[in-house]
Every structure is written in C-alpha cells, then in structure tokens.
C-alpha cells in the first residue's frame, strides 16, 4: 500500500499556520470573551451584558446601528442594482470613466467622505451657506442619522454595482431573448428574470454592505454627533475620554460578534436556497437605449456617480487652498501639503512599511492556505479555512480591542509596535484574499500539476514553477485590491496605533479631529493619488478588469 510521507513540507506548513492562527486570532478572541464575563469585583459575572441591555443609553446604540445598517443596505440595493443594470445593458457615454470613478469611490476611507460632506452640507458648509445667502432657506440637518445614511450609501453602493455587474456578465444573452420571446420584456423582465438570476449575488452584496455599514466607525464618529451607534460605543468604552472600561467594551464586542455571525449564517442559508451556476457563452451585448429612456438612464448614472465622487473632488480642491491655522484663506498653494507632510513625517514611510509587510504576508499566507484547502483537504485544513473566515464577521474595532487585550503584557508585549499593526491588517484582509485565491486555484485543472510531476518535477517545484505562475495574474490583481484596503483601513488601526506607527489614513483622521481640514485634505489627496496609481496597475494586470472585495 502506498503511504505518503507523514511529514512532507505541506504538513509542516499547515501545522505552522494553524499555530499562528491560534495565537493571533483564537487567543485574542478568547481574551475578549474572558474579559467580557469578569465583573467589577474580578469574579465571573454577566453584569456587563445586563448593564448593556438594561440601560437604554447603551442598548439604544444597538437600535441605532440596526436602523442605519438596514436602511443603508436597502438604499445601496435600490441605487446600485438599477445602476448596474443600465450600465451593463445599455450604451452609456463615458462608461470607462464611470467605472473607474465608481471603483475609486468604493476604495476611499468612509470617514473621508463623511468629513467632506460636513464641509459641503454641514452647519458652515459651503453649500449650506450658499443656499442660505441666496434663498434664505436652511438645508436639512446633515448630522446624525441622515448624514450617516448619506455617506454610507454613497460609499457602499459601488460594492453592489461591482457585484451585480459581475453577475450580469454571467447571464447568457439567450436567456433574455427567450424571456422576450415568451412575452416577458422590459421592466417585467427586469423583475421576473434579471433580478432572480442575480439573486445569489445580490444576497452576497447585501451581506457585505451590511457588515461594512454595521462595523463602520469613522463615519458615525464624525457625522453622527448625538446619534450614538454600536462601534463608536465600543471605542468610547475602550479609549473614551470619560474613562475606560475594558470589560464593558469586551462585552459590547461579544454582542457585536454574535449579531454579525447571526446575519452571516442567515445569508448563508438564504444563498444556498438561491444557489445555481451560470456561465455565459454569449454575454449580454450593450444596446443603445432610445428617446426619453436614454436620457433618463444617462441622467441617473451621471447623478449617482457625480454625487458619490463629489467629496473626493472637493477634498482635492480644498487641499490646494491656503490656510491659516484651522481657517481657509483666499488663494491657492501647496502649503497644506508641505505643512502636513512635515508634521506627519512618519506617516508616508509608515504606510509603505506597514502596508507592504502586511501585503506580502497576506498574499503568501493566502496562497498557501488556498492550496491546502483546494488540493489537500483534510480536517486541519478545513479548520484553518473556517478559522481564517472568522475575521470576516468580526468588526474591525473588535479585532483591534481583542489584540490589545491579548498582547498588552509579557510575554507578548506587542502593543504600540509595528508588528501588532501588521498582524491586525493581515487578520482583517486574509478572508478576502483566501477566498479569491481559492477561486483562482479551483479553475486550474489538477492535471496540469500531474503533468508537471510526471515530467519529473518535485512537489515544491511544481507549486512554484507551475501553480503559482498560473495563479499570478489573479494573485497580483487581488494583491492590489488588498493593498488599497490595507492603506485605507481605519477602524482597527485607530485602536492600535501610536505616534510612531501612524499611517496616512490615521494622519488624515487626526487632522480631521483637530480641525486642520486643509492638512487633512492634502493627505487625503495623497491617499487618493496612491489609490489611483494602484488601480491603474490593477487594470494592467487584471485581464477581466473585474474587482472583487
């Protein structure tokens, strides 16, 4: 009987990866759980949970979070699905640029959008002042629920757009023709055929939007004012000005994880019921729309994309304005850039060092895990797979808090180091990169590897000489998306950073909270420029030009 060697290189690898995950994910999660059930007197107790649910002051944040999240999810669908349908079914002028703009919107940090909208529509915003001076009218209040909803919707509808566009590309044109032929066309066809065909994707996109909106922390912090939501409450309890309470923060974190896990499982269950596979032999071809409808879809597209992109444009404009302290002055110069870069001289190198190390680790670990899961499935690799998906349902700020709780004392004194930032970013990004690597690997027939082995190549040589090069296009484009999400990450980093490990995104946030809007705009523009460059590189490497998050 043929017996494989017990300890080949892959065995060593999966044991190592399992250990790393146990240390940097399971142990912190355990820490947070343990902290949440330790009462004020140091004994086991559920008093923090009781405190949360019994005081309306706290439990209200949960209701607020649900309110914002559910409305955001619905609105992104209402805006994103038709946009994607128009974009993929009909000829829209400037469609290349539109897609790039939508992708850019989805890639900026949400809090930057929030602060730009405050600049535009806030109490002293230029639009508010302008409308007031011309008409005497006061615009509706941008702060609180409305503002959060506005910012999150405009930030997250691109995800729906990109997901649904992917699904529409997989619909075979003959399905639509058959539907027309059977007497179901136009708007009826949209609801009876197109939407059901995209349902699995719509569900997946909804979950993603839900998770992002629920966990987003920067937007409500800036624009929420009195409207208190869950992630902000965790943060205030943990680092707040009114005194910190680790255990209470931990308890709220546990509640957050339970909620997101429940939604994750519900989505899984629903998605299974709608699951089917499609592969378009003849993809849909864009048609020219006629008359009024043509005008309508153009207006709709330009309006939505214009609104979503407006904050970015305004920030770039602002970055060139002259400033004096916190105030803007007439005239334009590069002084905001000079001052902000001088004041945050570490931010740019830090962004590249921390982001770069995290990226290399993410890509390397993701490829190895994907290979283990696809080609060497066993109990341990399945466990690693499941474990690596955990951070998908854990809000970013909770990941940050868990790491602090686990690694703030010897022998693992990591708080305040570059290492803990890198670890946090890796943990947060890995679920996405693993999933996309798995998808890429599943498309490579195993016979290719067998051919290599039968021609005398060793397993390692086959992996690095055949498998990895065949995955490379997908890996590189996936890595670029990871890079962008890593450099714009806020909710975990804000808990872990200190003055030595500050990154660009954190620097923007710091300037915003201090009211140095000009400096914030300058650094945000640098961040946008970095994103655009990354996107251009992505376009070069990705054959399909499709972006998956």
């Amino acid at each position: 009987m043929a017996r494989k060697k017990l300890f080949d290189i892959w065995t060593v690898l999966y044991i190592a990866i399992f250990a790393v995950y146990a240390l940097f994910l399971l142990y912190p999660m355990y820490s947070i759980l343990r902290n949440s059930v330790i009462g004020e007197n140091g004994k086991l107790s559920l008093e923090w949970f009781v405190k949360f649910f019994s005081a309306k002051y706290y439990s209200q944040t949960l209701v607020h979070s649900f309110d914002v999240t559910i409305w955001t999810t619905l609105l992104t669908l209402v805006i994103g699905v038709p946009l994607s349908y128009f974009y993929n079914m009909y000829e829209i002028r400037g469609k290349g640029l539109i897609q790039v703009l939508i992708i850019l919107c989805s890639m900026s940090a949400p809090f930057i959008g929030a602060y730009a909208w405050i600049q535009l529509l806030g109490r002293a915003g230029i639009v508010t002042t302008f409308v007031k001076s011309v008409t005497g009218l006061t615009l509706p209040n941008i702060y609180g629920f409305n503002g959060i909803l506005l910012v999150l919707t405009l930030q997250l509808f691109p995800l729906v757009f990109l997901y649904v566009s992917g699904a529409l590309k997989n619909i075979d044109n003959s399905l639509l023709e058959a539907s027309d032929n059977l007497g179901c066309s136009g708007i009826k066809r949209f609801f009876k055929v197109v939407i059901p065909l995209c349902m699995p994707t719509i569900l997946a996109a909804s979950l993603l939007v839900f998770m992002r909106a629920f966990a987003d922390f920067g937007t409500p912090l800036l624009i929420g004012e009195g409207y208190r939501v869950f992630p902000v409450e965790i943060y205030t309890q943990f680092l707040g000005e009114t005194g910190t309470n680790f255990s209470f923060a931990a308890a709220i974190s546990v509640i957050a994880i339970v909620i997101t896990a429940a939604f994750f499982l519900a989505q899984r269950f629903l998605a299974k019921r709608f699951a089917f596979t499609m592969n378009a032999m003849h993809p849909i071809e864009r048609k020219k729309a006629k008359g009024i409808f043509n005008i309508f879809i153009h207006l709709y597209t330009y309006l939505v994309v214009g609104l979503a992109f407006l904050p970015q444009v305004y920030i770039v404009y602002q970055s060139f304005q002259n400033t004096s302290g916190k105030l803007f002055k007439p005239g334009y110069s590069l002084s905001s850039y000079q001052t902000s870069i001088k004041r945050m001289s570490d931010a740019i190198p830090n962004t590249f060092i921390i982001g770069g190390i995290a990226l290399v680790l993410v890509v390397l670990i993701a490829i190895i895990i994907a290979y283990l899961v696809v080609r060497r499935s066993n109990v341990v690799t399945t466990a690693i797979d499941t474990m690596s998906m955990l951070p998908y349902i854990i809000p970013g700020s909770v990941v940050g808090i868990a790491l602090v709780m686990a690694f703030n004392k010897k022998p693992f004194m990591l708080t305040g180091t570059v290492a803990i930032m890198v670890i946090a970013l890796c943990i947060r990004r890995l679920p996405y990169t693993i999933r996309s690597s798995v998808a890429i690997l599943q498309q490579i027939p195993i016979t290719i590897e067998e051919a290599s082995i039968s021609l005398g190549a060793s397993k390692m040589k086959t992996f690095f000489g055949i498998t990895v090069p065949m995955m490379s296009n997908g890996i590189i484009s996936g890595a670029i998306i990871s890079w962008v999400t890593i450099i714009t990450e806020l909710s975990t980093a804000i808990i872990l950073y200190n003055s030595k490990t500050i990154t660009l995104t954190l620097a923007v946030y710091t300037f915003v909270t201090r009211g140095n809007y000009g400096y914030a705009a300058a650094l945000a523009t640098v961040l946008t420029a970095l994103t655009i460059v990354s996107l251009l590189v992505f376009m070069k490497f990705s054959k399909s030009k499709e972006i998956t998050f």
Partner: protein, 372 residues
C-alpha cells in the same frame, strides 16, 4: 528500452466503495495496449494507478522486475498525455516540451537538441515560440505528445487523448500517434471508450466492465470471437437472438424459434449438450433472400444507403428489430414493407451460454485466462 508492465491483483477503493477488485494484467514491452470500456468501468482509474496519481489499495505493479507501488509519480519515468492535454499555459510550445528535460537537469545543448528533435518529429517546429492559447486542438495534442515523449519515458500513458478533437482530426491524430509509437517503440497504455479508435490503433485491447477485464486480445480476436456477450455487443454492432442448441452425436445444430436451422461446427467440448443459447449475429453476417428458403422471415421497415453498404432495418415475426448490412447493389434497394428471408454465415456467428457469460465456440483467444 521499453519495459513490460505487470499488474497482479490490483485493488482500488474509495472508502467502502471498491472500484477495482483483484485485477491482473500483463502488457508486453513495446506494445500498444488499450483499455477499452464504457464510462465508469475503471479504465482511467487503472491508468492513473500506473501513473501514480491514484493510490493503490492492494496488489503489485511492476515495470519489468521493479515494483513501482511506492515510487513517487515524478520518479516513475512515465510520459503521460492527458484528456485536456494539460499544457502549461504560461510556457511557450518549446518551454512545454523542454520542461521535463530541464527537471532532469540535462546540459543545455542536450535539452536544445532533444527538444528540437521532438518538435520536428511531431511537426510543431514552426509553432515553437507560440503560447498555447494560440494553438488549435490538434496542435495542442501534438505538443502534449512531444512533451511526454521527449523525456524518453519507459512507458507512455494516454487518457482519452483524442476525445476533445473533431471527427476528422481524430482519425488523423490516430494515425499520427500510432506511427510515432511504432517509431519510438515505447510500451503504451491507451484509454478510450471509442471502440473503433481502439481497433484502429491497438496491438491488443483489454475490454473492461465494472472494474473487471472481460477480454484481452488483438482487435481481430475480440471482434471475431468475443469472450462473452458483453464484449460482442460493446465491440461493433450485433443482433442478439435466442436459439436452442441441439446435439446429436458429433453433429450439432442451432434451432431458431422461427424455424431456421443452422449447422454448428467448432463447439467446445464442455458445452456439447442440448441447451438454450444466445446467438450474436453481426449485421454483415446475414445472407438475405427475397424468396422463401427456410430462413428467418422478416419485413423491411427502412433502409439507409451509405455508399459502400446499405443498412436494412427489419423486424422478425416476434417483432424483434434486426439490423442487416449488405454491400450496395446497382439495383434499387429492397423497398420498405417487402418480405425477406435471413440465413447466417455459420462460421462467423458467435454463440453464448444462456446467461451470456461464455462463448461456447472454439477459437476464443483471451489472454486474460492465462494471466488470471
């Protein structure tokens, strides 16, 4: 330097599910040997056990006298051609062909010359700098074959290599493969479900069903004296008729229910007794007559003119359908609705036991029996 492959009592199972139980086989050095059978019969499984991509749950595999059960696939010195060709998409044609030689760490000049030799041999020299996605199916097939042969393997394994090609190219590649195999003289194991392809290309064929070898023999042996009813129906077309065997002294006759009597020679001694039998008559083994002559009475339902031959579809009194092939005549084909009478060519037909498990005539050459 080709080898002979010996398989003794091979067992393959997935959990409790046994695909192959105790299969034995000997493939001679330099032979073109085909595993033929319907899908799911275990032929590809067996091939992959030889290659080392499937584990072996029992039995022994030998190349000459070397037991290979525990040898890593990359060390078995096997050339393999996959159904989907498995061409490395990121390497050029030349890169693909040279891949195996590079793994063997040959000096650069030797890699150059060997690669060049096989590029020319497979007539793909002119494409050598192309990437695989710029090749047609037939060209990819040639690259796959060149890549497998250039390493001078002991054994060449091919898993339905022609099934992705169109009909014309398939026939063309068949001859190309056969010719190159002759030239190189390498022991080849070929898997296919296409019996015509198997007959055209093979020195010997093993017909498999449900993980069990039914018959091993030359294409001629298998076609003309199939070991059992399954082999006779799987290879070529045949009509299966029921009859009674009558034995009187040294003479024996087949009695068909419709009245036809056929004298039968060459009955095997062990089956020399009166019994129900199953008779397999291939379409070309009928003799037809438009006049009553004691033959089976049938009515013509339709005919198809195919140039060289004309096929007649007729039915017996029992309503059983029968297909007949006759050389096309210059006259009109026999019209539908006509009555015709069938007799058979007694030396060509095959007679099986009532359960179809054994051919009861002499002249069955089945190498399986010697090896079992």
């Amino acid at each position: 330097m080709s080898v002979n492959i010996k398989i003794k009592n091979a067992v393959k199972s997935y959990g409790a599910n046994t695909i192959i139980s105790g299969l034995s086989l000997e493939i001679h050095a330099g032979e073109f040997f085909t595993l033929l059978g319907p899908s799911g019969c275990g032929k590809t499984t067996l091939l992959r056990m030889i290659a080392g991509f499937n584990t072996i749950e029992g039995g022994d595999f030998y190349f000459n006298d070397k037991r290979i059960n525990l040898i890593d696939p990359s060390k078995r010195n096997i050339g393999m051609v996959f159904q989907n060709y498995a061409i490395f998409p990121h390497l050029s044609v030349k890169g693909n062909v040279a891949f195996g030689l590079k793994n063997r760490k040959y000096p650069r000049e030797r890699i150059e010359t060997e690669t060049q030799k096989f590029l020319e041999l497979m007539k793909i020299d002119e494409f050598k700098n192309r990437m695989p996605d710029k090749l047609s199916g037939g060209q990819q097939q040639r690259v796959a074959l060149a890549r497998a042969l250039v390493i001078q393997p002991d054994v060449l394994l091919m898993d339905e290599p022609l099934s992705n090609l169109d009909a014309k190219l398939r026939v063309e590649m068949r001859f190309a493969i056969k010719e190159i195999q002759n030239r190189v003289g390498i022991t080849t194991v070929y898997v296919t479900h296409d019996q015509e392809e198997a007959m055209a290309i093979s020195d010997r064929i093993a017909v498999m069903k449900d993980g069990v070898i039914q018959h091993i023999g030359t294409p001629k042996d298998i076609y003309q004296r199939p070991a059992n009813l399954f082999v006779s129906t799987f290879i070529g077309k045949t009509n299966v008729l029921e009859a009674q065997l009558a034995v009187e002294g040294a003479r024996s006759r087949l009695l068909f229910p419709e009245g036809l009597e056929v004298p039968l020679d060459g009955l095997r001694e062990e089956f020399r007794k009166g019994q129900k039998v199953i008779v397999s008559v291939r379409p070309e083994e009928f003799v037809i007559s438009t006049e009553p002559n004691g033959g089976l009475r049938t009515v013509v339902d339709s005919s198809v003119f195919l140039g060289l031959n004309t096929h007649y579809f007729v039915h017996l009194d029992s309503d059983q359908q029968v297909e007949i092939i006759q050389e096309s005549m210059i006259d009109e084909a026999i019209a539908a609705g006509s009555m015709i009478y069938l007799t058979v060519k007694p030396e060509k037909i095959n007679v099986f036991t009532e359960d179809g498990s054994r051919n009861i005539l002499d002249g069955v050459n089945n190498d399986k029996n010697e090896e079992a």
